[in-house]
Each structure stands twice: as C-alpha cells, then as structure tokens.
Amino acid sequence: MKKIAAGIMLTSIVLTAVLIGTLSTKTVEKAEHGRVFTAAQKF
C-alpha cells in the first residue's frame, strides 16, 4: 500500500516538475506535419 502511495506521489512530483519547468518557457513550437484528435474530424 505504501509502495503504491509512494508511486503516486512520485508521479505527481515528476508531473509538477515538468509543469513548473514549462511555466518558464517563453517560446512555443508548432507541430510537425502530424495530426492529433483535436475536435470532430471532417470526413
């Protein structure tokens, strides 16, 4: 049980670190030529 809790906490710490890191990012990049599921697709 403790192991699972520690695992969740670690994931949370890693994700927080990633977000805090990107918070200071001033520049942005657009995608390469790939496509994601953004909204209803037109077919």
């Binding site: 990633v18 890191g21 520049t27 990049e29 030529h33 994601v36 209803a40």
Partner: protein, 356 residues
C-alpha cells in the same frame, strides 16, 4: 462533478460531459437536444454555469470555435480566477480551445492553471482527460518527452476502463507522434497500430487520421511508395486537407512523378494556411527550375517566418537544406552563413529543452 444541482438535470449533464470527454459527437448531439428541451428548468446558477462550460466544450467538439469563444468570453471575466472545480474546467476548456486554434503560448498558461486546480477533481477519468489534452498541447509545441509523460499517465488511468477506447486511441496516437519526433520509428509504428486497433472498435473517422500519421511516418523515413499508398487512401476518405496534399506532393516529387506532384501542389496551395504556404513554397523551389536568387529569397522568407513565429525546428531544417544547396554549388560563404542560421535555430530549441 458534485455541485449540488437538481438530480435529473445533473445526471444528463454528467452523461453529456462523459460523451464530450470521450469524443462521441453523435451521442453528444443527442444528449444536447434532450438538455435543450429542459433548459428553461435550469434555474440554479451553478447548474447554469456547468451547462455553459459543457456547451463551450461541445462547440469545440463541433469545431464551432467562434461560438465556443463567445460562450467562454461571457464566463472568463467572472470565473477564470476561481480556485475550485469550476476554475479547473474553465481553464481546461479555454486551453483546449486555444490549442485547437494554434494559440499555444496562452493555451499552456491555461493548462498550467488547470493542473494547479486538478486536486479539486476526484474522478480519475476526468484527470485522464486533462493528461490526454495536455499531451496534445506538448506534442504541438514540440516537447515530445512531456507529451509522452502525459499520454502515458492518461493511459495508465484509463487502462481497462470500458468506454474510453477512443481516448486511449488518441493517447496511443500522441505516443506515436512523440516517438516520431524523437525518430523512434519502430516505437512510433507500434503506437500508431495500437491507436488504429482501438479506433476501429469505436469510430471509423479517426482511423483516417491515424492512417495519415502512418503515411507521415513512412514519408519521414523516405519510404515514399508506402507513404503514398496510405496518404492516397486518406485523401479519398476525407475532405481536401492541405497537410495531406503537402505530403503527397512531396512524396510524388521524391519518386519523380512530377505530374501528380504538381496536381497535389496546385490543389494544396489553394486550401493552405499561412504556415503551409511557406512549406509549399520551398517544395516548389526545390523541385522546379528556379534561379538561385529566387530560390534563396523563398527560403529566406520562410526561415524568417518560422523564426518570427518561434518555429525553430522548421527554421533549422530549412536553413540546413539551403546551406547544403550552396555547399554543393561551392558557394562556401553562403553555405557557412546558412549553416550558422541552422545552428542558431538548433540552439534556440536546445535552450527550451534546458529550461525543463
């Protein structure tokens, strides 16, 4: 969301929320009609706010971005700085809308705020929705490792939960794209095939989008014949789309089928956006008999555009290609000038990575 609203309406709103989160457009439309009929009964301001938030997400799903903006604009002044579940939803939904419109910098700020409020959410599948949407943003802003983290987190939560196959497919699709950004071609293919399997069970529409990415994967490895096979199939299945036309034109030029390359170029340039005008321009410059000054001018305009829009990856690619062109012509002065531009663009990208 437990916000203390009338039971019957709340249940419908929850069903609507689930349909929206799982990208089920037809089901979302059906539930929306049911809710519209009972809309006048919604007197409670909290329920009205919840309806407005879900409605803005519904409009995004329908690609009616201006209506989604109009709805969100009426809410942001009062509710954007809230520190509760509603604050989470308004930041997340605004972030999703801005990502869809390519306004990535502001979108990221909204996602960060939503993340800070994520502790107000108890339903794990709603958290997975956040991770999935965040992974899309980070793929777009070319941070593939962050995109991988979030997509994996969403998949971990949704693993084995029925009804979320399409979201899992979307996550596998992001894992494929992020792997492709990292040039992990084998991994990318595995993820795209998993995405395809999951989407097939749910919705045929999304399989077209994944097939496009598989075509893109092969194009990136210069496996042109395979890429063309997939992309032509995609082109048959969807409305004309400039990205598909761009890749098809590029791959037909690669195999020296000039007639077909020109046909896809001509159609593509008619339907393109500002960014792709430059991709198309360079494609033409590289494949037609163009004098050196004209070619250099097209490349320089494109490199300036990408630099100005913080698209350092493309600036690096194209400055490198132009440098190679001048090197082959033994114009070493210009070659070194453009190699330096490519190096500067690479440094700009690395600087971003170092901030993480």
């Amino acid at each position: 969301m437990n916000v203390g609203t009338s039971e019957q309406i709340t249940q419908k709103l929850e069903r609507w929320h689930t349909a929206l989160r799982t990208n089920r457009l037809l089901e979302s439309e059906k539930i929306h009609k049911e809710i519209i009929d009972e809309l006048q009964q919604i007197q409670n301001p909290t329920t009205q706010l919840y309806y407005q938030l879900l409605n803005s997400r519904y409009l995004i799903l329908k690609r009616d971005f201006s209506a989604a903006h109009a709805t969100l604009d009426t809410l942001t002044g009062t509710h954007l700085n809230r520190t509760d579940a509603f604050g989470y939803y308004i930041n997340l939904i605004t972030g999703i809308l801005l990502t869809s419109e390519g306004e990535y910098e502001v979108a990221e700020a909204r996602f960060i705020r939503a993340y800070e409020l994520l502790n107000h959410i108890t339903d794990e599948t709603i958290k997975a929705d956040f991770y999935h949407k965040a992974s899309m943003l980070y793929y777009h802003i070319r941070q593939p490792l962050t995109a991988l983290n979030y997509a994996n987190e969403a998949l971990r939560i949704l693993s084995g939960i029925e009804g979320y196959e399409l979201v899992r497919s979307g996550c596998e699709n992001i894992l494929g794209l992020a792997s492709l950004s990292l040039k992990q071609y084998g991994k990318a293919e595995e993820h795209f095939l998993s995405a395809l399997d999951l989407a097939k069970q749910e919705s045929k529409n999304y399989t077209t989008l994944i097939k496009y990415n598989i075509g893109f994967l092969y194009a990136e490895q210069t496996l042109s014949a395979l890429a063309i096979r997939y992309l032509l199939e995609v082109n048959e299945e969807e409305e004309p789309y400039f990205k598909t036309h761009f890749l098809l034109s590029r791959e037909f030029y690669r195999i020296n089928d000039i007639e077909k390359a020109k046909a896809f170029y001509n159609k593509g340039i008619e339907i393109t956006n500002d960014e792709y005008k430059h991709h198309f321009g360079i494609l033409k410059a590289l494949n037609t008999d163009m004098n050196e000054d004209e070619l250099e001018s097209i490349f320089r305009e494109a490199i300036d555009y990408f630099k100005q829009h913080e698209l350092h990856g493309f600036a690096e690619d194209y400055a490198g290609e132009l440098a190679q062109y001048f090197y082959n012509k033994e114009d070493y002065k210009k070659a070194s000038q453009y190699f330096n531009k490519a190096y500067e663009a690479k440094r700009a990208l690395q600087k971003k990575e170092a901030l993480k």
